[in-house]
């Protein structure tokens, strides 16, 4: 083999490699366009001044849609309608969702930490039984027993109330212990042993040693449980029925697209969707690493 032929081979190889990389860039670019364009369309439509249009890019731009989320004028008198009488009280939905999200986040995080710590660090006789029961209970899709849960809430006097939602989102939270348990499992046991020798009770070990080391998992648990209520549709739609003052954002926005209001409120829907998507997207991007660790059962170290 002569020198020339080697160099041609090498340059041929390099050219082939370059062609492959270019191809990958093109494919990635096309895919990004496909994936991003619906979202771009949503953002554009939220600023659109032409109402419902079949066009891809709106002709006129306005901030009106965002304003209409919060302020409604009476068509006859032109006065500002109080929030309680608005057709679609967006701010009210945000407040409702926020209350539900904060309460269920606090309760769920506490419950998840308690359960996962108990299963990870404590050894007791019924532990295996509880773990297996938890596994089986976790297989029931939550909304399978939705009608029964509604009846129970009705009997407890919580019919169509936000508190009922808080309970639904957080009471079963103890079952979501796997990710946090996986995290606790990685904290060296020698820390517990050392503290035990120094005379610490298991209660003290939990508060003084384990919790301060668990900030990442606490943040992750709190964020996931906080996001849940913003995206849930099934339970709210069944629990709130026609009690519009207790709607959360997801249900309220969905109602904007009903047949009677679709043409008038379509762009307002887009504005409302953009407003809630921004914080959720930011939170998700922040915690994507934990998300990966969670679904692969801790297989990822990086």
């Amino acid at each position: 083999m002569t020198n020339t032929s080697t160099s041609t081979m090498q340059s041929g190889y390099a050219a082939k490699k370059k062609a492959i990389n270019t191809l990958i860039y093109v494919i990635l670019a096309i895919m990004v366009i496909i994936w991003i364009s619906p979202i771009v369309w949503l953002v554009l439509a939220s600023f659109s001044g032409d109402g419902v249009s079949t066009g891809v890019v709106p002709k006129t731009f306005t901030l009106d849609n965002y304003i209409r989320l919060f302020v409604e004028h009476d068509p006859n008198t032109g006065e500002i309608v109080p929030m309680s009488e608005m057709r679609f009280p967006y701010l009210q939905w945000i407040i409702n969702t926020f209350i539900v999200a904060v309460l269920s986040c606090v309760i769920s995080t506490l419950l998840i930490l308690m359960v996962s710590y108990a299963f990870s660090r404590l050894r007791f006789k019924t532990r295996k039984t509880f773990l297996n029961l938890g596994l089986i209970l976790g297989m029931f899709p939550g909304f399978m027993s939705m009608a029964a849960t509604y009846n129970i809430m009705e009997i407890f006097g919580l019919k169509q109330q936000l508190l009922a939602l808080v309970i639904v989102y957080s009471a079963g939270a103890g079952l979501g212990y796997q990710v946090a348990k996986g995290f606790f499992d990685t904290i060296p046991r020698s820390l517990d042993e050392a503290a035990k020798i120094d005379g610490a009770t298991r209660n003290q070990i939990f508060w003084i040693i384990i919790l301060p080391l668990s900030k990442p998992i606490i943040v992750y648990t709190a964020l996931t449980t906080f996001i849940g209520p913003w995206a849930d549709y099934i339970f709210v739609s069944y629990f709130m029925k026609d009690n519009e003052s207790a709607y959360t954002v997801a249900l309220g926005l969905f109602k904007m697209l009903s047949n009677e209001t679709y043409s008038e409120y379509f762009t307002v829907f887009c504005a409302g969707a953009v407003l809630i998507a921004i914080p959720i997207t930011i939170l998700f991007v922040i915690m994507q690493r934990f998300y990966v660790a969670g679904v692969t059962g801790g297989a990822v170290k990086g």
Partner: protein
């Protein structure tokens, strides 16, 4: 069988091994499932047997205090010097008796009572009991209007309080057994000349040796009331006629045995056909939705993570952003974009082609939901497999390159087997998740397009969206409960078999 052993095999060996392990694995997993259930039952019965044995022998060996606590709870503890503990047991017993007398017992009897006469024309079933013998079936259900609602029990309340009472009874029984054990234990301690612990010391144990009780009591009570109770309630509902015509209060529902199951499986042609079609579509959907996302997600991750590709962070973030936007938002946008007169079709017609009925034609809709699901799901798979790709030991590639393997061979021999090896559990959870994938179907097509061949369902409805429609639109709670049970059985069987197949659960002590 280690991953490294697997990689070292020749191609022929690998194929043979894969085929062999696939077919040998299935019966093993199913057998393992039954063996596990068998072991569980055996353990349960042994525990119960031992419980009875201990219960009897404690009574025989017990002194007067211990014997007394078999009737008056806490008597043994108090006589052995544990006043506080004994009082707690006693209060529990009194509270339980009071609860049963004033509340619980009536619901236990009501659960299967016969008819109650409301006025001379209408005989309404007592609560949930049998169908009353003189019940007049009126086509319009008008005759069931009851003048005095106060005399009528609310079937929901009766069923719920019955389940609640049973749960209370079980809890009380546990406390009762603890009481006899504790009485006997304190008797033994006293006999050995020591002093049993006082109340304060015993309470302190809940912060140390019994800390798990303190931690678990609230989550368990929460689960029992708002997860277990509704599940039991739902299972009972499947055996009643709780449908649109039997809505309490005002109307009652009662036990109908296996009628709902029979209807769904064979006796009602419309319903059983609907179930069959929906189950087939649910599985077709789950298989396509799972594997398209899985394979293309991995391919995307490979492209982004290829060494020479720049701006990795940018590409990844672009896809993660679409995954992060709440699903109901993105899916509703997709629905609007793909509407018959939506922007996508206006582009298509602008090019001189005819509009495509993306969501309004059954076959198009089925393809569309699978494709849109790819749009929704591929970023997730990409995210997960990106993390896994970084974990593949670099020396594997190193030695492969030395042996002269090209990029394609490296992929088929190392990357793909590794990812497949690690993500098998994820693949199965995704499959189960897709069987229960409510959002994509509900927001895109709402289960439609509707068809008269289906009972209250459309041609893209999955089991879960059918369940939702039966609950919300047609109030067929009993049918919805039956569907729920079917969904549970499918998911539970699938998950348990996998759980048996995967060894992940056995490695949990690795770190400690």
């Amino acid at each position: 069988m280690d991953f490294l052993d697997y990689v070292q095999m020749t191609r022929g060996q690998k194929i043979a091994y894969n085929i062999k392990s696939f077919f040998t694995g299935i019966p093993g997993a199913i057998a393992g499932l039954f063996a596990a259930i068998g072991r569980l039952l055996k353990k349960l019965f042994t525990t119960i047997g031992n419980g009875f044995k201990g219960y009897g022998s404690r009574f025989v060996k017990g002194d007067i205090g211990t014997k007394l606590s078999y009737v008056i709870m806490g008597a043994g503890s108090m006589l052995h010097g544990q006043i506080g503990k004994g009082l707690c047991f006693l209060v529990t017993e009194i509270a339980y008796i009071y609860f049963m007398m004033t509340f619980g017992l009536s619901y236990i009897t009501k659960i299967y009572s016969t008819g109650v006469q409301v006025d001379e024309k209408t005989i309404v079933d007592g609560v949930i009991g049998k169908e009353p013998p003189h019940y007049e079936v009126d086509a319009l259900f008008g005759a069931r209007q009851v003048t005095n609602l106060d005399t009528l029990d609310d079937s929901n309340k009766v069923l719920l309080f019955f389940v609640l009472t049973v749960l209370v009874c079980i809890a009380f029984f546990a406390v009762y057994i603890t009481n006899t054990k504790s009485a006997y234990a304190s008797q033994e301690i006293k006999a050995s000349g020591k002093k049993p612990m006082n109340f304060l010391e015993e309470m302190k144990m809940f912060l140390d040796e019994r800390f798990h009780v303190t931690l678990l009591i609230i989550p368990v009570v929460g689960l029992l009331t708002f997860t277990v109770l509704p599940i039991i309630f739902t299972i009972f509902m499947a055996f009643t006629n709780y449908d649109k015509a039997h809505q309490p209060p005002g109307n009652m529902y009662w036990w109908v045995g296996f009628k709902n199951f029979a209807e769904v499986f064979y006796s009602s042609p419309l319903k059983s056909q609907t179930l069959g079609k929906i189950i087939v579509w649910t599985f077709v959907w789950a298989i396509f939705a799972t594997f398209t996302n899985y394979i293309l997600g991995i391919v995307l991750a490979l492209m982004i993570n290829k060494k020479e590709i720049k701006f990795k962070g940018f590409w990844r973030t672009m896809f993660v952003v679409t995954a992060a936007v709440p699903q109901f938002v993105t899916l509703l946008i997709m629905k609007l974009l793909l509407a018959n007169a939506g922007p996508v079709n206006s582009v298509i017609t602008g090019m001189g082609l005819s509009a495509i009925p993306f969501l309004s034609d059954a076959n198009w809709a089925r393809v569309t939901v699978i494709i849109v699901n790819m749009w929704v799901g591929i970023p997730y798979t990409m995210l997960i497999s990106s993390g896994l790709l970084m974990n593949i030991p670099e020396d594997l590639y190193e030695s492969a390159r030395i042996d002269g393997a090209n990029a394609f061979q490296q992929f088929t021999k190392i990357t793909f087997p590794y990812i497949f090896f690690v993500t098998t559990p994820y693949l199965i959870t995704t499959f189960v998740g897709n069987i229960n994938n409510f959002n994509v179907i509900f927001f895109l097509t709402g289960g439609g397009p509707d068809s008269t061949d289906y009972y209250k369902a459309g041609q893209t409805d999955l089991l879960v969206t059918w369940l939702y429609k039966l609950t919300i639109d047609s109030k067929d709670y009993n049918l919805a409960a039956v569907i729920g049970i079917i969904v549970f059985i499918i998911c539970a069987a699938g998950s348990l078999i996998t759980f048996n197949m995967s060894k992940a659960s056995k490695n949990e002590e690795e770190f400690s």
